[in-house]
Symmetry: C2
Subunit: 277 residues, 2 copies
């Protein structure tokens, strides 16, 4: 008899709950999004849904109705009643016996959580330390997939070094992005970040940061940075959905901008706030 | 109230079963093994356990007792009573709210299935077609992790082309291995396969193939092949735990060895059989 074992518990395979045979488990075969709300209002939901659709299409998960996803997100957000909420959702290709290839009629699985975002005002006022780490990820980081082991290991490496984020560096010595954030440098009145390639997630926060940068009169340069350049920047920051802009005051133990969030970074945070109201 | 949603069903987050918060889901944060039995006898279990231990250590999952894993595998295998069984097992870092970094006291989750292997005699007698595909995987393919989306997409690409396996080719034009197998070529009396690097899984079947190759008098060369070279080989085959040696009779639509399994490949299959008795 075919069987399964969960911890020490044996069960007939036929009686196993489908969640255990989810391809999300076996292969990380799924894509996800994280949306947040500011004071009861969701931010950039449509852009997240559009990116989600692209991710689904890139890994060929079919039959997911974006309108239905939107309704679920809204229903869950309203049901939770959390003003500053983090809404995580993923779709996996479905539950099936473990085979790399998949059957076309497989039904995708949807999962979502709504949690309360902790208040990060202190961190944003103080700034964070980051440390560089080799970028070991796969070659399609433009897809927001559940294959995040390289990101997890990089983040843990940063944590171990007392940093809040890992900044990923390719074999060629170029910074791509953070383990779970976009990365920006300011030199004079120039805002620099890596260009969008297959190595980079098309971050929605990044897009709004660039918009804010233009508004406050910064010149935008989309060119990859080397860690030496980052260390010599006037200001550094990361951008991520859950916290938008977070100033970086230390890069690989080198103090940036006298150890204080930079003036343009602070202006960008203020400008960003106007988008989220 | 923090909530979760499974499909259309909303549940309080506090009442969500831990399986839904498994880091295997969120990040593919786990490692696995596949062992098989031949006529009621497990093959190379100790080597699989040793590799599993290395994989766990490489991604820093602590607190997993290999002796306990062995006992579980044996108990499940005996409980199933399947002569030609495929035993899949994985350990994930544990269940926790979704954060990239992890708490040191997190308890790993163990999961296993024992299923019946289909009889592949016909396929082994006939040989299979394979097709090349860009190797988009991460930079630590020596770790047998649950981050397998690149493998899945490559395999599906092969399936679409009417092939049974995808042969992965790096940006530099070198073959690493199959989406879920090792890859071998025979030129004259030389058996060639890629060397073990961070790009390659240290396949246990590969090790036994090399042993068999030496026994039947083949010269072993561990050097990467280019697809052009593979197309000009006298014989090709893949090696994978569940099927050991499978002859390849077509590579990217080019017929190999007159479309029949090669003589040395057949000898290797016979020699391999002596290890599994």
């Amino acid at each position: 008899m075919q069987i399964a074992m969960i911890g020490d518990k044996m069960v007939p395979l036929a009686k196993l709950e489908p969640i255990y045979c989810d391809r999300g488990f076996y292969f990380g075969d799924g894509v996800y999004e994280v949306v947040r709300s500011y004071d009861g209002k969701m931010f950039a939901l449509e852009e997240h849904l559009a990116r989600f659709k692209k991710s689904l299409s890139a890994i060929k998960i079919e039959g997911v109705d974006t309108d239905q996803v939107r309704k679920r997100v809204q229903k869950a957000f309203e049901g939770a009643g959390i003003a500053n909420a983090k809404i995580y959702f993923h779709v996996t290709r479905g539950s099936a016996p473990r085979e790399h290839s998949w059957e076309v009629d497989l039904k995708p699985n949807f999962f979502l959580t709504v949690t309360e975002l902790p208040d990060k005002t202190t961190i944003k006022n103080k700034g964070i330390s980051v440390s560089s780490c080799p970028d070991l990820r796969w070659k399609r980081c433009d897809i927001k997939s559940l294959n995040l082991l390289a990101n997890v290991l990089a983040r843990q490496d940063a944590t171990k070094k007392g940093s809040a984020e890992a900044i990923l560096v390719t074999e060629r010595g170029l910074i791509t992005e953070g383990a779970a954030s976009a990365f920006f440098a300011i030199f004079g009145q120039t805002l620099q970040t890596a260009p969008l390639t297959a190595n980079i997630l098309p971050s929605i926060t990044r897009k709004y940061v660039i918009k804010a940068g233009k508004t406050i009169g910064l010149k935008i340069v989309e060119e990859s940075l080397m860690p030496e350049q980052a260390r010599s920047a006037d200001e550094l920051f990361i951008a991520v959905t859950t916290q938008d802009i977070v100033p970086v005051v230390k890069f690989d133990n080198k103090t940036i901008g006298g150890g204080q969030p930079g003036k343009y970074t602070i202006s960008l945070i203020e400008e960003f706030r106007t988008f989220t109201r």
